[in-house]
């Protein structure tokens, strides 16, 4: 037996038609009016069926629309996931690039003292060979020996001095590199650490005649993540070198540190470069915001700085700039970084 949604209506109509027959015999004058009633009921039933179909159609359309929305939402979510992954990958490669720049800086910087030591050693070796020949031939004079001694003292002084310099540099770099790679928390003298970091950046700004002045209390000790601090400083310096100075102009940068209270460090990084518009300074910490797209700018340098200051040092950073009036970044963070569990990738540079 098939299911009929309108069985009750049809049954009522069948009864009405049976009644119509009886009414025809009993009260024929009522018949036309009764037939009108039946017709009205029939019409009403058909309309009811039609409305059910309209309603079903609307429901189906609604359900299609909801499915479409669901589909679009999943698509948008997937696109967002991809974007996040791509962003993550870019941040990672930016970190690697910055580590690469550090290594290049180290190599360049150590090259100078090592080069001097090598040429001094070579000079000393030549002089010593000549001495030996004279001594072997029995023709070594007193004056000549005195000259040799003077040369030996000078060159060994230079060799020693430059080797010590190289050794200091290596120790400083090693600390910076280890800090960056391992994100170890330790106590560090801020002034010395700023110097170590700047040395690794020397090759970047010295050729153009740029200079960095540092004003930092010599005895200020931090209990924090020095590797992060070093990364922040190099990104700020690199950002200034890339954007602040007109080509050929020797620019000045200044790092000024003070403590507004015993537990807070305020570090201001300022340049005297061309500055930027309000529109740009408002967006400067946004990821991928760059005015040098396609010319080496990834738009991540200052974003990373912002994330490190806020996320790792648990401080804040603000920027102040105007066209032709230079740019200054002011960082404020606790002298002793509050304890908390940091995700490894947040601090591993």
């Amino acid at each position: 037996m098939s299911f009929n949604l309108f069985a009750a209506e049809e049954e009522a109509l069948a009864k009405a038609r049976a009644l119509e027959t009886r009414l025809g015999a009993l009260a024929p004058d009522c018949l036309p009016e009764f037939r009108d009633l039946i017709a009205a009921f029939e019409l009403s039933t058909r309309e009811q069926q039609r409305l059910v179909r309209v309603s079903d159609r609307l429901q189906a359309q609604l359900s299609d629309a909801i499915h479409e929305l669901d589909r679009q939402r999943s698509e948008a979510e997937a696109a967002l996931d991809h974007l996040r992954e791509a962003q993550e990958a870019m941040v990672q490669s930016e970190k690697l690039a910055s580590l690469g720049a550090l290594v290049a800086g180290v190599a360049h910087e150590i090259n100078t003292p090592v080069g001097i030591a090598v040429s001094c050693a070579s000079h000393l070796a030549d002089a010593t060979q000549a001495m030996r020949r004279r001594a072997d031939g029995g023709t070594l004079g007193k004056a000549e020996f005195a000259r040799y001694l003077a040369t030996a003292v000078d060159t060994t002084d230079l060799i020693l001095g430059n080797c010590e310099r190289a050794s200091q540099l290596i120790a400083g770099f090693k600390q910076v590199a280890v800090d960056r790679a391992s994100a170890v928390r330790r106590t560090v003298n801020l002034a010395a650490y700023i110097q170590d970091t700047l040395v690794s950046l020397q090759p970047k700004f010295r050729p153009s005649g740029h200079a960095v002045a540092v004003y930092c209390p010599p005895d200020l000790e931090l209990d924090s993540y020095p590797g992060v601090l070093s990364q922040i400083l190099s990104n700020l310096v690199m950002n200034a070198l890339t954007h602040a100075f007109v080509d050929g102009q020797a620019g000045g940068m200044a790092i000024t540190v003070d403590c507004p209270d015993a537990d807070t460090v305020r570090m201001c990084f300022a340049d005297n470069g061309r500055g930027m518009s309000e529109e740009h300074s408002a967006r400067v910490f946004e990821p991928f915001f760059t005015t040098r797209r396609g010319r080496g700018g990834s738009g991540l340098g200052l974003h990373i700085v912002h994330n490190l200051v806020v996320g790792v040092l648990m401080g804040s950073i603000t920027v102040l700039s105007a066209p032709d009036l230079g740019t200054s970044f002011t960082l404020q963070f606790p002298r002793r970084t509050p304890d908390r569990d940091l995700p490894v990738e947040a601090v591993t540079m």
Partner: protein, 132 residues
């Protein structure tokens, strides 16, 4: 009254009843918040137009793209009013406009035509993407 013109809004259809020429048209989408408030004046104007015994032929163009159940019932009532005057001898043509490929709207039109004996019913296809 020669004309009844109600501009379409997001939820209510556009109504342009040109009574002088017997050309009535409904366009857009119909799912009013208050069915009585919207259709009340429409029915009143239509009723007085149809009550005129000297009226000429009527063309009614149903160009709605979307309507809810209450609007469907209102349409059926309008069609019955048209059917009544057509039965009385007045020429009435009802054109049910559907967008290309809107099969379910076409089926609904055929369904709605079921009770029209005296009204001339025709189906017209419009290009998809809105009425011309």
């Amino acid at each position: 009254m020669d004309c009844l013109t109600i501009p379409a809004t997001g939820r209510t259809p556009g109504v342009s009843f040109d009574f002088a020429n017997g050309h009535l048209r409904m366009t857009g989408e119909s799912y009013p918040d208050d069915v009585a408030a919207f259709f009340g004046p429409v029915f009143e104007a239509l009723r007085s137009f149809l009550d005129d015994p000297d009226g000429g032929p009527i063309r009614f163009d149903m160009e709605l793209l979307y309507f809810n159940s209450s609007s469907a019932k209102a349409l059926m009532n309008i069609f019955q009013m048209l059917e009544t005057v057509a039965k009385g001898g007045r020429s009435v043509t009802l054109t049910w406009c559907v967008e290309e490929n809107d099969e379910s709207m076409r089926e609904l039109g055929e369904d709605f035509a079921e009770d029209l004996r005296h009204v001339v019913f025709q189906m017209r296809e419009m290009p998809a993407g809105g009425p011309p």
